[in-house]
């Protein structure tokens, strides 16, 4: 590995029922994805408050991805529909403030889509790595 290779910090919020299980399946099938992806389990993608995403950026995350059940398949019937609206608006706002849109993403990953989970994470990491460090939304005090 190169010494200076930039490894972006990625926070992935995964819903317990689909995407977290999808990530587990990726593990079961030994489908690689970068280690800089760290998963936080939430009951449903609709639990993810925009504040959590901003917090992640504040603390030095370079990209934030939110994974939930496919629309229509939400364990709680409608959670991901709200997620879809909230994140469409939030991400559009971040883009409007000049934050690169490639740093944020919503992906629907079902419990059966281990391969999609792994592929998505690989792709997202590459995408964020190409942007370099997140400086626009970072709280510099958090970096020692």
């Amino acid at each position: 590995m190169q010494v200076n290779e930039f490894k972006p910090k990625i926070v992935a919020f995964c819903c317990n029922w689909c995407s977290y299980a999808g990530a587990d399946l990726a593990g079961n099938n030994r489908l690689n994805y970068p280690d800089n992806v760290k998963i936080i389990r939430v009951p449903c993608s609709c639990r993810v408050n925009p504040m959590f995403i901003l917090r992640a950026f504040q603390r030095g995350a370079d990209g934030v991805i939110l994974c939930g059940c496919h629309p229509g398949d939400c364990h709680y019937t409608s959670g991901n529909y709200y997620t879809r609206r909230r994140m469409a608006l939030l991400f559009s706002m971040l883009e409007y403030l000049g934050i690169e849109k490639e740093r944020t993403r919503v992906e629907w990953v079902s419990a059966a889509e281990g391969a999609k989970f792994s592929a998505t994470m690989n792709e997202f990491c590459e995408q964020v790595a190409a942007l370099g460090e997140n400086k626009r939304l970072e709280d510099l005090r958090c970096k020692q």
């Binding site: 977290y20 587990d24 280690d35 760290k38 936080i40 603390r59 398949d73 409608s78 959670g79």
Partner: protein, 664 residues
């Protein structure tokens, strides 16, 4: 300050091979609040659990972090360990260092580093954990079975036998499903009607069972133990409780040209009909698309002849609302449409039929009274070609057909071939096959008998095309073993069409919030260990809605699903999930945002008196969460502008602590 113990599991070599477990345990020792940290080969084993219990006692631990496999595997195991040692089970957090670390990374240094970070995040969360107690909810002691085929009937009977009430909802005017259309069953060749119809009668007479035929589920609310279901009873224009099933109306109906769907359109019926002689319930139904009285207000003959006075042209669809503790999906299958398979000339020739149509042609109650006559000219076919795997085992990019093996075709085709040769020894029977798949008790013996005793010609190869020529069908196919291309002049071609889940299943899955695979088969909670449960609590699976199955498999799965339902209904109370929403009334504005996003209607509002700083009181409208109803999705927590709403076990602060630990 919490006293946290960290337990790093090797999972044999599953974790230890790519994560330096000792280093993880060591690194975690320096985390604030961690007073004990160790590793062990198998934390989930009895010895591992004992180790945790010891440590809890010795170090007076208040919180546990287990670095192991996915919480979806053993979270409950470790929660129980905590509870056994006197710690609240919700003071346990799992760091998933197997599925999401050791199994996806190859480099040990990287795996170790990530495992440490994941463990730190779990420690950060445990610091903010609070003891939680699950609420309890009553169980409605009634089950709903959706689908009245053999799967649904068997499930309902087994549940009813255990003493619980059960309702069957069937879209067709009669229960019985596909099995009622079959002639004989493999591999024993007993008559389908002879073994099914007694069951249909039994279920109809069982006092614990109610049958809603000609009905559909339109809405499902609630949760395990407490589902509320709306069932639409479609208007059949005949009073179900008055009709005696004498059938006089069906004979007198002047409208004779209604395609008989029970015979797959191979003959006609009246606009008022009873699907078949043994139908349950045996009552007539009027098809509003054909009935002249309903369409134009002219006729009314059936009402005139009905001595019981059962006909009611003004009947309306009726919505019934009922509560259930458990729901079983048993929606069954259908053969796929063959529109995309032009090469087999299914739409060009009446004498190219599907296997299910062949069943009706050989069934004594079918359009030909069981005499094998070909549909076009009602002559005895002399040469019959069976084609297997029509639309099964197709690759996903072939843009037609299904990827899976339909499982039952090999056996029923052998059955058809054998029965034809048995009844009509003068016919030549060819079967084109790719593989003959016969795993099952007495299955291969059965297939061999077709070849050896009955002289069915099995040809390894596939039919390329069927060309109607005069009154013949030229079947062109390859014989791979002989390396020849064959052209067989056939009188009848029978296609073993792939089977697919019933179209209603998709919509139902959405209502039930049960997940489906890409083929629209219901997904089971665990492919091996929980095959009859859906991942959604309280929803169970029976029969082919879960995957292709033959009758014995369907019946055994139906029984398994019933036993799961019985296990659920036998409980008086269900322990809920304590990770539910909670509103801080001091902060709540009463704005109703949370109420609007709640999928379970768990939030109501109360007017509450508050003491103000100036000693006056003020009445404010505040949200109140019904913890028995809340399922803990958290939609309300984000909708709440003031942050009054939070989710126990996944509090905003806890999640942010995890974020902080990960980003550090």
């Amino acid at each position: 300050m919490q006293r946290i113990g960290v337990f790093v599991c090797w999972c044999g070599s599953n974790i230890a091979a790519t994560v330096d477990v000792k280093a993880v345990a060591e690194a975690l020792k320096s985390e604030p609040g961690v007073v004990f940290s160790t590793d062990y080969q198998y934390m989930c084993s009895q010895a591992g659990q004992d180790l945790i219990k010891e440590a809890i006692k010795e170090h007076k631990l208040t919180g546990l972090v287990i670095c192991s496999c996915s919480p979806r595997m053993h979270e409950n195991t470790f929660r129980k360990v905590a509870a056994d040692s006197g710690i609240n089970p919700y003071m346990v957090e799992i760091a998933n260092i197997r599925e999401q670390c050791s199994w996806v990374h190859k480099d040990k240094a990287i795996g170790t580093e990530k495992a440490i970070i994941l463990a730190r995040a779990a420690v950060a969360k445990v610091h903010l954990n609070t003891p939680l107690t699950p609420g309890e909810s009553e169980v409605t002691k009634r089950a709903l079975v959706i689908g009245g085929g053999i799967a649904g009937i068997q499930t309902a009977l087994d549940i009813a036998d255990a003493g619980y009430k059960v309702d069957i909802v069937e879209t067709k005017p009669t229960i019985g499903g596909k099995m009622a259309q079959l002639d004989k069953t493999f591999p024993t060749l007993d008559c389908a009607a002879c073994i099914l119809t007694p069951k249909m009668v039994e279920v109809a007479q069982n006092e614990n069972v109610r049958i809603f035929s000609y009905s559909e589920v339109t809405e499902v609310g609630g949760f395990v133990g407490n589902f509320t279901v709306k069932i639409k009873k479609k208007a059949r224009y005949v009073k179900e409780d008055v009709c005696t099933g004498c059938g006089l109306c069906t004979e007198k109906c002047p409208m004779k040209k209604v395609p008989n769907d029970f015979n797959l359109g191979m003959n006609n019926k009246g606009a008022i009909y009873i699907p078949f002689a043994q139908a349950v319930p045996k009552v007539a139904t009027i098809d509003p698309n054909y009935c002249n009285m309903l369409k134009n207000g002219k006729c009314g003959l059936c009402a005139k002849v009905c001595t019981a006075g059962a006909i009611d042209y003004t009947q309306k669809d009726e919505i019934i609302e009922e509560k259930y503790g458990a729901i079983v999906a048993a929606t069954g299958y259908n053969p796929i449409s063959l529109d995309k398979f032009d090469e087999f000339a299914y739409n060009q020739s009446k004498d190219v039929i599907t296997s299910l149509e062949f069943e009706r042609l050989t069934n004594a109650a079918g359009p030909t009274n069981g005499v094998l006559l070909r549909p076009s000219d009602l002559k005895h076919p002399k040469t019959i070609v069976f084609v297997q795997c029509v639309g099964s085992r197709c690759s996903a990019d072939a843009s037609k057909g299904k990827e899976y093996c339909s499982k039952i075709c090999c056996m029923y085709t052998a059955k058809h071939a054998m029965l034809t040769r048995d009844k009509y020894p003068d016919t030549d029977v060819y079967v084109f096959y790719i593989d003959v798949r016969t795993p099952g008790k007495n299955f291969d013996e059965f297939y061999r008998r077709a070849v050896e005793e009955y002289g069915v010609h099995y040809i390894k190869g596939m039919v390329g095309k069927v060309i109607p020529e005069g009154d013949k069908l030229i079947v062109q196919g390859s014989d791979l073993l002989d390396n020849k291309q064959l052209k067989i002049e056939a009188d009848l071609v029978v296609l073993a069409a792939a089977i697919e889940p019933d179209k209603s299943a998709r919509n139902l899955a959405t209502m039930l919030t049960a997940s489906m695979d890409t083929n629209d088969f219901f997904t089971e909670a665990h492919p091996k260990l929980r095959p009859v449960e859906s991942p959604t609590a309280g929803i169970f699976l029976s029969g082919t809605c879960q995957g292709p199955k033959d009758i014995p498999e369907t019946v055994s799965q139906a029984g398994a699903a019933a036993s799961k339902v019985i296990g659920l209904l036998a409980k008086d109370k269900l322990k809920g999930n304590p990770c539910v929403a909670h509103s801080d009334e001091l902060m709540c504005n009463g704005c109703s945002s949370c109420e609007r996003v709640c999928p379970y209607k768990a939030i109501t509002y109360v007017d509450k008196e508050f003491r103000m700083p100036d000693r006056t009181t003020k009445v404010r409208r505040v949200a109140f969460v019904n913890e028995a109803v809340c399922q803990g999705c958290g939609a309300c927590t984000v909708a709440c502008p003031s942050g009054a709403m939070d989710l126990k076990g996944f509090k905003s602060k806890q999640i942010m602590a995890e974020v902080d630990a990960i980003c550090k």
